[in-house]
């Protein structure tokens, strides 16, 4: 019952596939070369795992937040694969994937959103899954919501780009930080497998994306006002 996961939402590309021997996962720093690299690397990974593409049971993709173009390359590939193979897919939050991969139980996940902002959310381990205690949002690093208590593990590129501002803002709430971590397909896969198991995977045409930054242009009347 092989499942394939992919993440193209940062300057990394990561893939993971379930095999009888466990999960086989790979990642590369590809900059903006996701279109060029993703499908050939999927082909190589499936070949290494001895899995025919037609044997895949489901596709998992990082549904954001992240690079807008990266999100759509991943979602477009996931949609094309799932539609072409007649299987279902699951989109997983990239912020929750950061939590999953951190090894911690209380995680402040934060990705660089460019334009001097971050995508941020806080998660607490809840059995096999995660409870989102601070809802994901896009905001200035010095205005992020502060979780209750102390010692939250800070994870993700937000801490690399705005470590000082976030450190000042979060104060004692923040413990150790893992700024080099990125949402990894291995962690998306772990979070998605229970969704497939309970029959909650989606048809490929219903694949959601989470941009968080939804105001991308001014309407004519707003421009005139400005």
């Amino acid at each position: 019952m092989p499942y394939l996961a992919l993440d193209t939402t940062t300057e990394h590309l990561s893939l993971a596939v379930t095999t009888p021997q466990g999960v086989l996962a790979r990642d590369w720093h590809v900059g903006q070369k996701h279109a060029e690299r993703t499908l050939p690397e999927i082909e190589a990974l499936l070949s290494e795992a001895g899995i025919a593409r037609a044997a895949l049971e489901g596709i998992v993709y990082g549904m954001g937040p992240g690079s807008f173009t990266g999100l759509r390359i991943g979602c477009g590939i996931a949609q094309g694969l799932a539609f072409g193979l007649g299987i279902r897919l699951v989109g997983v939050s990239t912020l929750m994937a950061l939590a999953q991969g951190s090894g911690a139980d209380r995680v402040y996940a934060c990705l660089d959103a460019r334009m001097n902002q971050v995508y941020a959310a806080a998660f607490e381990r809840d059995g096999e899954g995660w409870r989102e205690v601070i809802t994901a949002s896009v905001c200035d690093p010095d205005a992020v919501s502060i979780p209750e208590g102390t010692g939250w593990t800070g994870v993700g590129s937000g801490f690399a780009a705005y470590g000082e501002a976030l450190g000042t803002r979060l104060g004692d709430a923040l413990g150790t930080t893992l700024p080099a971590r990125f949402p990894h397909a291995r962690d998306l896969l772990a979070l998605a497998l229970p969704v497939f198991a309970r029959g909650a995977a989606l048809a490929p045409e219903d694949a959601p994306l989470v941009y968080l930054r939804d105001k991308v242009a001014l309407k004519t009347h707003e421009r005139i006002k400005a």
């Binding site: 279109a35 759509r72 477009g76 949609q79 094309g80 539609f83 004519t220």
Partner: protein
């Protein structure tokens, strides 16, 4: 051969199934005009967000209409450029992943080649060689087309595209966005001889165009005649449309004369303009050439022309599934098919 075509280069998602023997089996277009109109122009990021929502539902509808299964598809063609990078990447990603899943060849198509060849989806279809006028919101070009991939640029606009001049003038006249079609409609009710607008580069001796001056002339008229009543507005529209149509018609005739060709092909959104068609048909009778248009619903961006052009270029299909888009891409650089 059944070819799937996917177009996502700007603000229309187009999907089509074309069969090399049976012809066009199904095509669907979703236009984003209403979404962008609030912004007064195409917002690239919003265009991309919409393409990814539309592509698969449109594909499902095409398969149902053609009564075909995915497994019947022999090859997949997608618009690789030119166009908006983010928008192009949506179609490219879906196309290549579908090809990978179905283990079928995928071919990247030049958007303008799609338009150029689209009149060959009509009956009767133009045989090669022909002169093509490619006229839309993004392009105004005259080309000598000797065969698939054998394109010789004869002339082009040095500033605004004809469709762009329509839309910008419509904006000046308070007709909203994109106002080109509204301007044409209003022009039908106006008196074209009340105002005389310039015919830029009509006697330039070459096959190039310029339309930005015409827009400036409209601005001047609007300023002078303000506030505009309905009749005044209609008369300006009529004068504007007459000027553009005359320039396009005269340059087409000059291109036919220069090349010695007898077939003229019109492609692109402005090709749907009724007065332009009437003027070209009229000149065709007098000057003994034949003029060909794409089917009316294939004048705007669509998947059918991409599927058709892809079918002509299957020998360039790749099987590696690593892909990239070409937001800028010179048509003349294409190899002959």
């Amino acid at each position: 051969m059944l070819v799937l075509g996917i177009e996502s280069s700007c603000d229309e998602t187009g999907i089509a199934l074309y069969h090399t023997e049976a012809g066009l089996l199904a095509h669907r277009i979703h236009t984003q005009i209403a979404m962008h109109s609030e912004y007064g122009g195409v917002v690239p990021e919003l265009a991309s967000r919409d393409h990814i929502r539309r592509a698969l539902p449109l594909l499902g509808a095409c398969l149902a209409e053609a009564d075909k299964a995915l497994a019947d598809i022999d090859a997949i063609a997608y618009t690789q450029g030119p166009g908006l990078a983010g928008a192009l990447l949506v179609g490219a990603s879906v196309a290549n992943a579908l090809g990978f899943a179905l283990q079928k060849p995928v071919v990247g198509v030049h958007h303008l080649e799609g338009h150029l060849l689209s009149p060959r989806l009509a009956d009767p279809k133009p045989e090669f060689p022909f002169v093509a006028l490619l006229v839309s919101g993004g392009h105004t070009q005259l080309m000598a087309v000797h065969g698939v991939g054998q394109y010789e640029l004869l002339g082009e606009t040095v500033d605004d595209a004809a469709g762009e001049a329509f839309d910008k003038s419509a904006k000046l006249l308070g007709l909203g966005y994109p106002g080109g079609p509204a301007l044409s409609k209003l022009a039908d009710t106006g008196n074209a001889s009340r105002f005389k607008l310039p015919r830029p580069m009509l006697h330039s001796g070459d096959l190039d165009f310029s339309f930005s001056g015409l827009k400036t002339a409209v601005l001047k008229l609007v300023t002078e005649q303000s506030p505009l009543g309905d009749t005044m507005r209609a008369d300006i529209c009529a004068a504007f449309q007459e000027a553009i149509v005359e320039v396009l018609q005269k340059k087409c005739l000059a291109a036919l004369k220069q090349t010695g060709m007898t077939r003229l092909v019109i492609a692109g959104g402005v090709g749907a303009n009724r007065q332009l068609r009437a003027a070209l048909d009229d000149a065709a009778q007098r000057h003994r050439y034949t003029v060909f248009y794409p089917p009316l619903e294939l004048c705007t961006d669509n998947g059918a022309m991409i599927a058709y052009a892809g079918a002509m270029r299957l020998q360039h299909a790749v099987s590696g599934y690593g892909y990239g888009v070409k937001p800028r891409w010179d048509l003349a650089s294409l190899p002959a098919a």
